[in-house]
């Protein structure tokens, strides 16, 4: 024990930085290989209905309450936070526009994804981690099933399809929440709320939000399943896998959000240059 401590003490900060960089590169490489294998199995054939339906139910139906509540309150919070500034500029009737654009392009997809990373991603990592430590994943292989095809592909499909749908639900409920607070508490006319809410948002904004959700869904599934498959031993290992699934998914969502926002902005500028008459 003492010799180990001595060795660790001797490591310079450069060593530690090097170790961190190596661990990071190794982790990214492993995650990429895992995603590649998953895509290979996805293309090999769809999983059976008896496997995919329960996963769709778990990811979609059972996430609905949390997404409804989150979306509703995000919309109302946006109304509360924006009202003061809009009143100062006598633009309070345009509150609907800022609420809708914030929800559709940014907050709806991101917050829905974050909520689902917490609810679905952690649960997936914990479930797969438990299966790993109790040798159920080995048992699948022993019984002739490929664990990636049987366990990961259905979860990936469910997240890819349902997280964008749940983001749309969050957007709609958020708009309703914003409308309720704006009209019933802040006294804004309902007509103006919906007029600006609908007219300010373009098809491009909606598509941007949906594309972001697709990427977020894929990231949550891949990161969470990868954590579950690489879970450490015992209850502590499972707990750590669940926490890591949420933290890494959250980081992935924010990083992807940044790059996708930049990409959508660039695309928008290109489209405007190519077709200046069109409304994007």
């Amino acid at each position: 024990m003492s010799s180990v401590t001595t060795l660790q003490d001797r490591r310079s900060p450069i060593h530690l930085i090097g170790e961190c960089v190596l661990a990071f590169v190794n982790g990214i490489g492993d995650l990429t290989l895992f995603a590649g294998r998953m895509l290979g199995w996805l293309l090999a054939g769809p999983p059976r209905g008896s496997v995919i339906w329960p996963t769709l139910h778990e990811v979609g139906v059972r996430s609905l309450p949390v997404v409804l509540i989150t979306g509703l309150f995000i919309g109302m919070v946006l109304a509360v936070q924006s009202y003061d500034q809009f009143v100062m500029m006598h633009l309070e009737n345009r509150l609907g526009s800022v609420i809708t654009i914030s929800l559709v392009e940014e907050l709806g997809p991101v917050l829905a994804a974050v909520m689902l990373a917490g609810r679905v991603g952690s649960a997936m990592a914990a479930e797969l981690g438990t299966m790993r430590v109790t040798e159920q994943i080995d048992a699948l292989r022993a019984l002739g099933a490929n664990p990636i095809h049987y366990l990961v592909v259905p979860r990936f499909i469910a997240c890819l399809l349902l997280i964008p749908l749940l983001a749309v639900v969050a957007d709609c409920v958020g708009m309703l929440g914003g409308w309720f607070f704006s009209t019933q508490v802040l006294g804004i006319d309902s007509f103006y709320y919906w007029f600006h809410a609908v007219n300010f948002v373009t098809g491009f904004d909606v598509v941007t939000g949906l594309v972001k959700s697709l990427f977020f869904g894929a990231a949550i599934a891949v990161v969470s399943c990868h954590r579950g498959f690489n879970c450490g031993a015992g209850a502590q290992g499972v707990g750590r896998a669940a926490t890591e699934a949420f933290v890494y998914s959250f980081v992935a969502i924010l990083v992807l959000d940044f790059f996708l926002s930049v990409a959508s902005l660039e695309l928008l500028l290109v489209l405007r240059a190519v077709a200046p008459w069109a409304v994007f």
Binding site: M131, T134, E135, A139, L140, A142, L143, G144, A145, N146
Partner: protein, 274 residues
């Protein structure tokens, strides 16, 4: 105690063999240059202290782990030469009873037993049902157990469920990872009997990893004892005993005698000195 009538089986080429197999996890070497055969029809016990690599040996034999060096042979052919598809196909000839049974939590016992059949054999549902019911009956599990979830079962029932699931695919070889660990003596004897019946009725070759001396006396034809690699000298072989169950209790190697008699010996002083 039933008569052991199995020693008269004809010896053939080994159905499973390890040739110079080593396996490390990170910097820790668990197995070093292991070589032994498993003959068709025999039941071999692999014993040794915790951490000596017994379960790893089973997983290497199943192809669930790859050796760091050496080869695992199935019917004389190295599994490292097989494609993923061939490995998948041939792995179905080997059943595995996991230490904790590893029944799938999300399925009841019936679905667990039917899983391998549904996954690999295109059988009508009625035939699957008849196979499942027959195997459950052979393992002494009543039809009412079939619809229970694994969490509702006792340890012994879970082990029998795991054994039934493995046997439903009619394997040629069964690997048992500590089949009686955590069970009361009566249930341990039930599991031992099931292992013997599996061998006698279905002509299944067995490899049993165990710490249980009752199992060791009753079940195997032959025993291989591994010693923890960390306690060996650099060139010392890791297999410290390979022979019959009758002779192991009087083995020349004091480490073997000490293990089967359950004597700590100098280990006590080592532990307290540390």
């Amino acid at each position: 105690m039933p008569q052991q009538t199995h020693t008269s089986r004809t010896p053939e080429a080994p159905i499973l063999a390890l040739r110079g197999v080593s396996r490390s996890f990170g910097s820790q070497q668990v197995l070093r240059d292991i070589t032994f055969d498993v003959r068709r029809g025999e039941t071999l016990a692999v014993i040794g202290e915790s951490g000596c690599g017994k379960s790893v040996t089973l997983k290497l034999m199943m192809g669930l782990l790859n050796p760091s060096a050496g080869d695992v042979l199935w019917n004389g052919n190295p599994i490292s030469n097989r494609t993923e598809r061939e490995l998948h196909r041939d792995r179905l000839k080997i059943g595995f009873l996991f230490q904790g049974a590893a029944l799938f939590d999300s399925m009841d016992v019936y679905e667990n037993v039917a899983f391998g059949l549904r996954q690999n054999k295109r059988l009508p549902e009625a035939e699957i049902e008849s196979i499942v019911v027959e195997h459950l009956r052979e393992s002494g599990l009543s039809p009412s157990i079939a619809r229970k979830m694994p969490s509702e079962l006792s340890g012994g029932m879970r082990k029998r469920g795991g054994l039934t699931r493995a046997l439903a695919l009619s394997p040629e070889v069964m690997l048992y990872d500590e089949p009686t660990t955590g069970l009361d003596p009566v249930m341990s004897d039930v599991i031992n009997e099931l292992i013997l019946r599996t061998r006698d009725r279905r002509a299944v070759t067995g490899i049993v990893v165990t710490h249980d001396m009752t199992t060791l006396r009753k079940v195997p034809d032959r025993i291989v004892m591994l010693y923890p690699q960390s306690r060996l000298q650099p060139n010392e072989p890791q297999i410290v005993y390979e022979g019959s169950p009758a002779e192991i209790f009087d083995a020349e190697d004091s480490r073997v005698r000490q293990f089967v008699r359950g004597e700590a010996g100098e280990r006590i002083e080592e532990l307290f000195a540390a």
